[in-house]
Every structure is written in structure tokens, then in C-alpha cells.
């Protein structure tokens, strides 16, 4: 297995080292690599003095372990990770799936040395946000519930910032919007910056609204809920399977299932199913290759009017008007 020892930071002095480690070179903030080793893009965007974004969109052709060994300790990394095909994160000998269907959001203090391991053939789409601790402290102090504890959160003797979480459905769609943008030129920078602000805001909301911290949920229960989400996404073209079926599959009572699903996903199983249906329907519409009737049929809506009505309720405009005014 190839081993890459590297570091991150808000300042860009780590970029050349990472490029060298993976056998590539830096060109205009892009890390380019020969296609035989990896395919795709790595792009670094400094947003301001306290914020830098790093976008990774690659398919791996070999097994690699990235060993993060920071020398700076003045920042926190927020990692929104949509990898598929076997990516794991190892911290203090504990291995966790760091994929779309695992802990797809990690928040780590620069002081922590974690390993990120990917398999040949897997794909990674990740947005990493490096933010100065001083700036993060500023953001979090806007949250009323945090004002009392903010000093201790950022006191290295009392606390290390580390959190394994699931990104919200909204964050997932934000990232999806960004993936549609061609990865070059000044417009790309604008959309990345917009996405990064949106993701930080969304995470702040998540902290405010989550009644419990995910780490306090039994790993087995979390795994079952995540599997349940994956099941719903894989069966978007069918009718909603019903709470009874889903709860049985997740080995929980219906009450516990509904409660946990809501806590982990932020929305009920039914809304999760419908909002993803509509999201995919919207994407199909944008391709221009399908009629509303065909799409309604594909995703099991009662008829076109039913899809039109739900679409309008969610997005504020009916689908055809959405298309005609794109």
C-alpha cells in the first residue's frame, strides 16, 4: 500500500508537499497527477485569511493511506466526505467508515493525527474546509447555547475538537449543486465559496437543532439507521415501504426507529424519501431528456399533477416553469 504523509492548514505551504507525496505537481492551485495513478482533480482555494477550501474529486487506481501529520495547530478541519468504494478513517486505532453511508462528516482539531485509507477503484468526492480556531470560535459564539462553554471548547487542556457526524440532507444537496459546476475558472471559485459558507451555516444549524450528539448513539443503531437511509435512496422508484417494514429491517420498535431516524437525519423517513425523490426528479428534468409524465412514472408519483404539486411545494415553482426560466 502506498503511504503518503502530509499536512493541511489555512495557509497553503502544505500543497506542494502533498503533491510531491502523491507523485504530482501543483499548477494554479490544482494538484495534477499522471492519470495512471489517479484520475480526477484536487483543487485548493484560499477564501480569506482564516478559511481555505480543498476539493478532492478522484478515482484511485491503487490502495493509498494518507497519514495526516499537521505541524500547525491553529486550525480545525471540517471534512464533508462522499467517498464510495471503501474509504476508512483511523483515529487512535479505531476504524470508522468515512463514506457517503458512514460518518460522512468529520470535524477534527489540527492536533489530531488521523489516517485516511482508500482502496483501489474507490472514488472520493470530498470538500475539506480548514478554518482558523479563532474564526470558528467567533462563529460558534453566535450560537446562544454555546456562549457559556465556548472558552472551554477552545481550551486545549480541557477539550480536543473531534466529532464524527452525518452531514444533513441539505448539505448533501449543496455539495451536489457544486458538483454540477465545471471545475475551472473564476465562476468555480464563486460556487465553491458559496458552498463553503452554506456548509458551515448548515453545520451550525445542525449543532443547534440536534438534541443529541451522534457519538452518544449506539454504533449499531446508527449503522442501522444509515442502512435504512441507503435502502430508501436505492428504492426511490418504488412506493414508500412503510414504517413497519423499515423498523423491522433496522431491528427496532417503530417508535424508536422514527425517533432515531429523525435525530440522525433531521427529518422523518417519509420526508427524507420524498425530498430525495424530488431531488432526483429535478436532476432528471434538468437533463431535458424526459417529460414530466415519464419522471412522475419513474419515481412512483400518482400522476404528473401529483409530481407538479409536490415539486411546487418544495421548490416554490412548478417544474415546467422551473425549466422554462432556468
Amino acid at each position: 500500500m502506498k503511504e503518503v504523509i502530509h499536512q493541511y492548514g489555512v495557509e497553503l505551504d502544505w500543497v506542494a508537499g502533498l503533491a510531491e507525496g502523491i507523485g504530482g505537481y501543483v499548477e494554479d492551485n490544482y494538484i495534477r497527477i499522471e492519470d495512471e495513478v489517479q484520475q480526477g482533480n484536487r483543487y485548493v482555494l484560499p477564501i480569506n485569511d482564516h478559511l481555505t477550501a480543498f476539493i478532492i474529486d478522484v478515482t484511485y487506481r491503487q490502495d493509498v493511506v494518507f497519514k495526516l501529520r499537521n505541524t500547525r495547530s491553529d486550525f480545525v478541519g471540517l471534512y464533508f466526505n462522499l467517498s464510495e468504494g471503501g474509504a476508512i478513517h483511523i483515529l487512535n486505532d479505531v476504524t470508522r467508515s468515512a463514506e457517503r453511508w458512514g460518518y460522512n462528516l468529520g470535524i477534527f482539531d489540527a492536533d489530531l493525527n488521523g489516517d485516511f485509507q482508500v482502496k483501489s477503484g474507490s472514488t472520493t468526492y470530498m470538500i475539506a474546509i480548514f478554518i482558523k480556531k479563532t474564526a470558528l470560535k467567533q462563529y460558534l459564539s453566535q450560537i446562544p447555547q454555546h456562549q457559556q462553554i465556548i472558552e472551554s471548547i477552545f481550551n486545549p487542556e480541557l477539550n480536543t475538537i473531534v466529532r464524527f457526524d452525518r452531514m444533513s440532507n441539505h448539505a448533501w444537496w449543496l455539495i451536489n449543486e457544486l458538483r454540477k459546476v465545471p471545475p475551472k475558472g473564476p465562476l468555480y471559485d464563486i460556487f465553491i465559496t458559496g458552498t463553503v459558507y452554506g456548509l458551515i451555516a448548515d453545520y451550525m444549524d445542525q449543532i443547534i437543532n440536534q438534541e443529541i450528539i451522534i457519538e452518544q448513539v449506539l454504533p449499531e443503531d446508527l449503522g442501522n439507521i444509515v442502512k435504512s437511509q441507503a435502502y430508501l435512496i436505492a428504492h426511490l422508484e418504488e412506493a414508500f415501504p412503510g414504517i413497519h417494514f423499515l423498523a423491522t429491517e433496522a431491528s427496532m420498535s417503530e417508535t424508536k426507529y422514527k425517533k432515531l431516524f429523525k435525530k440522525i437525519s433531521g427529518i422523518s423517513p417519509n420526508s427524507f424519501f420524498l425530498s430525495n425523490k424530488l431531488g432526483y426528479a429535478k436532476e432528471m428534468l434538468e437533463t431535458g431528456n424526459f417529460t414530466i409524465g415519464e419522471i412522475a412514472d419513474k419515481f412512483g408519483f400518482f400522476d404528473s399533477s401529483h409530481l407538479i404539486e409536490q415539486f411546487k411545494q418544495t421548490y416554490g415553482v412548478p417544474p415546467k416553469e422551473y425549466l422554462s426560466q432556468l
Binding site: L187, Y197, G198, A201, S305, G316, V317, P318, L323, Q325
Partner: protein, 334 residues
């Protein structure tokens, strides 16, 4: 109630300085150099102003005026463009008694793009909430962004102020509308609000540049008089959606221009030919009427909109919305 109109003048700046004028003119309160709160005797609500990136600032206004005011934005030679997004129903229907009154429809365009060297007067309605967002974009910055979407020569020509005026009005595009309606749900005071406003402003700018790159470049200078004349005719169309299209000849006469000049300027400003513009608006109104619950048959709506053949109406409607008006009507809750 004091019905005398309060008048004041101001101009924007890319930085937060402009807000002081509002404080001085009408006694608004400025907090953290970004939130303006209106004095309660004039309006309820306020605005929030943020610098997003070098070259881009955003202003969000949410206020309900209690007395009539006339706000004049003075032209300046500052180097920025403004984009207006008015969020709200784009077609308002006033129903008097039980009858849908013929003169009661009014459509408006929710989005405008202009140079800060043009003058603007706003007389906001009293006792009605207005929610709008403005982007201020530095000229050089926009030129650089636009240059990534088209050939350099056309881009230089478009941004050459001695040859061309950048100016247009239209409906808000779908993607922007979704972002704005999401933003409208969020309280100004939420902890994450500033970040969401910045995120929205950046996406709106990105969408604007992408959309403008698909506009046919029409290079010419516009005088304030040209703009006024074109708006006179587009306003006429928007206020008479129930009639038949009056014909290009008559529209050009109304604008006191030749037909060819009229067609060119109309398309430059409103991004559609007068005929297509009128048809789109008519069908958007048709959609509104179908959902209003005030009509029991497609025939009634077709006649209301000035179509002599309900079948023809159904055909053009289906063409635009991909669904027959009869189906829409059938699915309305009674």
C-alpha cells in the same frame, strides 16, 4: 395619519458607509455597521448589509412602510453594478367582491440589472411587506467573471461603456428563486444567517453570470429616455394581459420609435421579443387563474384571457407547462 410623502435621497457604496445616510435622513438605527432598523413611525423592519468578497456586497431588505415615502437613489460615478431581486408574488390579482375584476391583474418582473450611474425612485406600498435583495458588484470583477464565459472581443465590447449599456429586466430565474425562497424562511437573527446570506449572494452571482452568458449580445447605448419608453410599453403589456397582443406597429408608436429600433431595444432590455414576452406573461397569468379556484372551466379562463378558441389556448398552455389546463383545473381542491 400623516399622508404627506416623506422624501429622501441616498446612494449605495460597495462598503458599509452608505448606511449612515439612512441614519441621518430618517433616524434609522445602525447596529454593528450592518443592520439598519427603521424608526417605528416610518416603517417596521430593516435591512442587513454584508461585504461578501472583495468586489461583491449584498443587501437584504425586509420592511413594511407605515407612511408613504419616496426614496431616490442618486446616480453616482462609482464603479459597480446593481442587481435587484424582488421576492414575492410576481402576479397579483385583486378580487373585488366575488367577481374577478378585469383591471385587477398586474404582473411585475422580479429581477433587474443596472449600472449605478442610472437614477432610481422607489415609492414602496404602504402597509405591505416588501422583501428584496440587492447585489452590488464591482465592474472590473463582473467583467472578469463574464470573460470566462464568452470570447474576449464580445466581452470587451459588452463592457465598453462608450458603446454599450448593460441593463436588463426579467423574471427571477428558477434556481435563484429557489435560493431566495429558502432564505426568506430564515430569521435575520439566526446564528447562521450571515453565512447563509453570503452563500446565497455568491450563488446568485454565479447564476447571473451563467444566465447572462446565454443572452444574445446586443451592443448599443441606452439613454434614460429609451429605457423609459421601453418600460412604458412593457408596463402596458403587463397591465393588459387579458387583451390580444396589440401588434408591433402600435407598440413602436407608443414608444415613439421605428419598429426595428423598438424590437432591438425591447429584446436588449427584456430578453424576449415583445410578442413572446406578452405570451409568456399571459400564460403565467393563466397558470395563476387555474390555481385560483375562481374558475370552473378552461373555456371561461380562455375567454377571460382574450382567446377566442379554448382549444388553441389549451395547446399553447400545454406547450409551455407540459400539462393541459383541464388537468390542472381537475386537480384543484374544491
Amino acid at each position: 395619519m400623516n399622508l404627506e410623502r416623506i422624501e429622501f435621497c441616498y446612494h449605495y457604496t460597495l462598503g458599509p458607509e452608505w448606511q449612515q445616510q439612512i441614519v441621518d435622513a430618517i433616524g434609522a438605527t445602525l447596529t454593528d455597521n450592518k443592520i439598519l432598523t427603521m424608526p417605528e413611525n416610518i416603517a417596521h423592519g430593516g435591512s442587513i448589509f454584508l461585504e461578501v468578497t472583495p468586489g461583491l456586497s449584498v443587501l437584504l431588505l425586509d420592511m413594511t412602510f407605515k407612511v408613504p415615502v419616496a426614496i431616490t437613489r442618486i446616480p453616482t460615478d462609482h464603479q459597480y453594478y446593481m442587481v435587484y431581486f424582488d421576492i414575492g408574488d410576481e402576479i397579483t390579482t385583486h378580487i373585488i367582491g366575488n367577481a374577478v375584476h378585469r383591471a385587477g391583474y398586474h404582473a411585475k418582473l422580479g429581477m433587474g440589472f443596472m449600472d449605478c450611474n442610472t437614477k432610481g425612485i422607489i415609492m414602496p406600498p404602504v402597509e405591505q411587506r416588501s422583501y428584496s435583495l440587492r447585489l452590488f458588484i464591482q465592474k472590473d470583477y463582473l467583467k472578469e467573471l463574464a470573460a470566462s464565459t464568452r470570447d474576449l472581443e464580445t466581452n470587451n465590447l459588452l463592457f465598453d461603456e462608450s458603446k454599450n449599456t448593460l441593463f436588463f429586466y426579467s423574471h427571477i430565474d428558477s434556481r435563484s428563486k429557489i435560493l431566495l425562497s429558502q432564505l426568506k424562511e430564515i430569521d435575520f437573527n439566526a446564528a447562521s444567517f450571515d453565512l447563509k446570506l453570503k452563500s446565497t449572494a455568491l450563488y446568485l452571482l454565479g447564476y447571473l453570470v451563467e444566465r447572462a452568458s446565454r443572452f444574445e449580445p446586443i451592443i448599443n447605448k441606452l439613454s434614460d429616455h429609451d429605457i423609459e419608453q421601453i418600460f412604458k410599453t412593457s408596463e402596458y403589456l403587463l397591465a393588459n394581459l387579458l387583451e390580444e397582443f396589440p401588434g408591433l406597429q402600435k407598440m413602436a408608436e407608443m414608444a415613439e420609435m421605428s419598429v426595428s429600433k423598438y424590437k432591438g431595444l425591447f429584446k436588449k432590455i427584456l430578453k424576449d421579443s415583445p410578442n413572446q414576452f406578452f405570451l409568456n406573461e399571459k400564460l403565467l397569468l393563466a397558470q395563476q387563474l387555474l390555481h385560483s379556484g375562481n374558475f370552473s372551466s378552461v373555456q371561461e379562463i380562455a375567454y377571460e384571457l382574450g382567446y377566442t378558441s379554448p382549444n388553441y389556448f389549451a395547446k399553447v398552455y400545454k406547450n409551455m407547462f407540459d400539462v393541459l389546463p383541464g388537468e390542472v383545473l381537475k386537480n384543484q381542491p374544491q
